[in-house]
């Protein structure tokens, strides 16, 4: 069982609002690893939308993602890509 950690920065203007939060939760749920996301104050289950929305992660916020399990590497890589892509909002109104 591997534990993998990664810091990611929220780059889209509107931050981790409802739609990107749902994308993140949906992606996290594709992996069997236990996945947690934290800001400075709070660590939450990345697989629960109600928890992830509590991060209130604004543009520029650094989040730490920690995955623990057999597919931890893959999960971290996929989540990192999603966040770094700005949740697909960079070329529209999200800039």
């Amino acid at each position: 069982m591997a534990t993998v950690e990664q810091d990611v920065t929220i780059i889209n203007r509107y931050g981790l609002h409802a739609r990107p939060a749902m994308q993140l939760v949906e992606l996290a749920n594709r992996y069997s690893s236990k996945i947690e996301v934290s800001n400075r104050a709070l660590t939450v289950d990345a697989k629960s939308i109600m928890s992830v929305m509590r991060l209130a992660a604004t543009q520029g916020t650094v989040l730490k993602i920690v995955a623990e399990g057999n597919d931890a590497d893959k999960a971290i890589e996929a989540l990192k890509q999603l966040v770094e892509s700005g949740f697909g909002e960079l070329d529209s109104t999200g800039v």
């Binding site: 609002h17 409802a18 939308i49 109600m50 929305m53 509590r54 604004t58």
Partner: protein
Amino acid sequence: MKLSDIMVTDAIIPELKAQTRDEAISELIEALAASGAIARKSIPEVTKAVLAREAQATTGIGKGVALPHAKLKGIKKPVGTIGRSSEGLDFSALDSKPVYSVILLLSSPDNPDEHLQAMEAIFKHVQRDMFRKFLRQSETRESIVELIQEADDLG
């Protein structure tokens, strides 16, 4: 941010007449206008924005709760209201279950951070089983207002 800072007491609807998602959204927006929280002439624009957001992805986040929302020019600070449906509404929710509590939130496009703080204030309470249970059981505006107050006091 506190829930009571966002929710407009006079616009809370303890029993929605709505039978559908769109009717519920309209009813809550109408209530916000009637309470004076938003301009009456903005109703069509607000309704269109909230439904457009809903069309992108459902805000029915599961466990009987939906959070329709939109960012609109003309909204200065986050403003919202709550509607309760005892029969349940179809929001095509993530867990495919009916929605009993609809929390509408409108915020400014110029202040995305404030929108996230308002969402955080809402989710802080909504993620608690007891809050969702009591909200679903609250049959009067007064009891919903009291629930919000107690939730805020609890922190």
